[in-house]
Symmetry: C4
Subunit: 272 residues, 4 copies
Amino acid sequence: MKTKDSALCGLERRDFLIGGGIFLASVLAGLPRKTWPEPLTADPALIEDLVAANRILAALEVVDGYGNVSVRHDKDPNRYLIARSIAAEVVTANDILELGLDSRPVDGSDAKMYLERFIHGEIYKVRPEVKAVVHNHAAAVIPFGASNVPLRPIYHMAGFVGRGVPIFDIRKVAGDTDMLVKTPALGAALARTLGDKPAALMRGHGAVVVADSLPQAVGRSYYLLMDAKLQAQAMALGGDITYLDAGEAARSENFGGYERAWDLWKSKAMGR
Amino acid sequence: MKTKDSALCGLERRDFLIGGGIFLASVLAGLPRKTWPEPLTADPALIEDLVAANRILAALEVVDGYGNVSVRHDKDPNRYLIARSIAAEVVTANDILELGLDSRPVDGSDAKMYLERFIHGEIYKVRPEVKAVVHNHAAAVIPFGASNVPLRPIYHMAGFVGRGVPIFDIRKVAGDTDMLVKTPALGAALARTLGDKPAALMRGHGAVVVADSLPQAVGRSYYLLMDAKLQAQAMALGGDITYLDAGEAARSENFGGYERAWDLWKSKAMGR
Amino acid sequence: MKTKDSALCGLERRDFLIGGGIFLASVLAGLPRKTWPEPLTADPALIEDLVAANRILAALEVVDGYGNVSVRHDKDPNRYLIARSIAAEVVTANDILELGLDSRPVDGSDAKMYLERFIHGEIYKVRPEVKAVVHNHAAAVIPFGASNVPLRPIYHMAGFVGRGVPIFDIRKVAGDTDMLVKTPALGAALARTLGDKPAALMRGHGAVVVADSLPQAVGRSYYLLMDAKLQAQAMALGGDITYLDAGEAARSENFGGYERAWDLWKSKAMGR
Amino acid sequence: MKTKDSALCGLERRDFLIGGGIFLASVLAGLPRKTWPEPLTADPALIEDLVAANRILAALEVVDGYGNVSVRHDKDPNRYLIARSIAAEVVTANDILELGLDSRPVDGSDAKMYLERFIHGEIYKVRPEVKAVVHNHAAAVIPFGASNVPLRPIYHMAGFVGRGVPIFDIRKVAGDTDMLVKTPALGAALARTLGDKPAALMRGHGAVVVADSLPQAVGRSYYLLMDAKLQAQAMALGGDITYLDAGEAARSENFGGYERAWDLWKSKAMGR
């Protein structure tokens, strides 16, 4: 896992922009992107975590060139932060956009955006407790999304799977499509399938994972794919499998937000 | 994914050669390789992309020490560019040869060439819209090439699989061989099996993938193997599988040429 | 596998602390951690091996952000050494705590400790010949822990598997839990399931491996997961499998403590 | 794949020793290892290739901390070269020993040797055309060695598999053992099972591969495990599989000695 110098430069530049407040905003008014009508107001530490989350998801092979992660704005619950349309592995703070829950940039940016940002916006609309969303095409979850074999919680690292992982089949709500959740209506339909769960699979496409923090969203994304791998391996043995029961799965979630793993992952992703 | 300094040197040297035009061609007439009867005329940016494609395919494990990628000449549709016979991982601009559609070097080069270059030449002959060809032995596709279980499109990243992936069985056209497509006749037979499809498997050997650009040919090669992996995993679960239907598969292809992934892959392959 | 300079610094600092004896202990009395009521007394070479074991287990993917390894104190069999609660990959000598067999720090340290340290303490209590313990969530062993298909010794590198690998099902001793062995009673129950064996699986959780040295504990942890992988692959072939018989398995153990592999692993983990 | 400076130093030191001839031999008579009764006489280029082969096999995961490779002496067919007992990944020229076909060091060296060197010596005795031998525990071949499902040639890179891969079951010739081929008699028994084939599996243990050169022995070792992986995957699909027939398999071997792959592998293993 390697980091780019430019990423750190990006962070510094953002700190600089934010530190300068209104004066700098006027000085920089000539820059076309992300400076009008207002500078980014999110906590720089949150932006750093979002950059880290992007890189971690790439390093863990949860995402490849495609897939995205967002976090709800820390000061305004009606906004969320997400990168412009680039690969997660190379995201820097300068790539972060601030969007309203309608998934439009609040500053009038004309940066190219992820076609599927509505996955994020529509979930934030109906799940006020959700603070972070990951959309991915992780290899291990695709087979379960295409199969009628349900995902089950096989170990305590994935206790949240015990709440059930619904499958969103876009064909049932929109007929033949290009499979992309690229309209508010499709995002809202996905959010309805997700309901109050921590994760949903998307048939022929991938998965969406939500959580109350970036570390938990990243941790759940990783252990969702691990659970899928391990369940598939256990099934291949051909014997009887004992999954976590409902009580075990629920209690395993108390384990927390994957903080120890996040500390490790972030230190590696940010080259510290 | 690491890059070699020598590769960049190679690019610069080529830029230098091309920049110098006729004068340099006469100065360099003493060099035995690739300078007679004419200097390379392809766009240097295309050559750079071909070098990148070679390295990306190695980094993605689409090719190992064997396998090759070509691109149709940007100025002369009756020529294509391909490396001399070396491993894709270490190809530099200096290794690129310019071949006619008969797969002979146009400049009389005596460099050792890929035995199976006829795969490329014969496909370019009959598929004028094809601009790039990849031949590989990617592990995930070999089992499907040897099996009567058909490849199906399991997710939107591989929508092109929905058009069908025919299998070329060399035994049916040539009896017992060493499996190599090393004559124009065998290349033409493979091209006939490929027909108008984006990809074909080669029984007991590998695959061939075509596209209208290098990024798309590389992207299709990678997502063909991912599709094979994921379908095999889904089948192993033992339940019912819902593949993309014909409409979904076709619409997924509109998604484009894997540009975002290409940008990521190329920046890593070229060490930028 | 990379090492951190800070790790070497940590070693030096510890050597320094230990070398200074009582005088330094009084000078450093102002430091809140690990200096009261007595300095660490373990052999620095043992601490270095414990640091190496942590990093090796991470590099071999026996552990990820979670999982831990301990070693019995070389001078006091009623103590053991284990890192504070951090990821194994980044453990340095400064992170090593000295615990009694009740799994409480002997020096009154208030460092955050692994919740499951009782796995280690309770096994050391009842297995006096055991000198090292590894607890892990290695992917390959989870399926066997959740299945009624028993692990068998498929090759000589894992002859110890022939003694049988019991499965600890926490539900049977404690009903619905969060699956964690986080009390002395649960640790003792696990130790009873382990009995006199070299390893036990933990249903829905992971494995515990014991040995008479760190190299052997690390080696057994690695080859336990390899054995699980290989048995699963052999079963998938669908034919009849010949495992090591009891005599072969027992004789294979004479092979020793994986010293050659340990030498390789340690040199890489410590960057030498 | 990284290389150690010490390896290059080792090569230089050996060149130095050899270059100095008899004078140096007497000067260095005080050194206990490998200088009596005669200096190494093998071609330094062959020793370099043997060092490279060791590192390549480790990089390709054909061997881990265990496994070994030898080459027949270029000037004396009654000798072979093999490393002392260390992990292949860290072998340097200074680690190479010269053994007679009785697997004893010709120079009276007291270096610790591989317990299973008799695999090499006994095969060289009865297969005069064999110039290189690899013994490994490659993960992909263990399942086939323990199963009654025969290995078949699934693609042209492993055409030599078509000659048949016999399985050596040590239990049938020696009853319960520690599985190691650690006597001349066991080595001779393995050589009898191997017969005139290019490879044999060893039940509960690994494989042995022979060839007429180091590049071919390394290439066959790698593509033997690839063939095993791919056959297992193809079988898991559940359909009918078309393997190479006898003619195809035989013709595929004409393909040669894996020279292009060897060139790539060696350049990476030796850091050039």
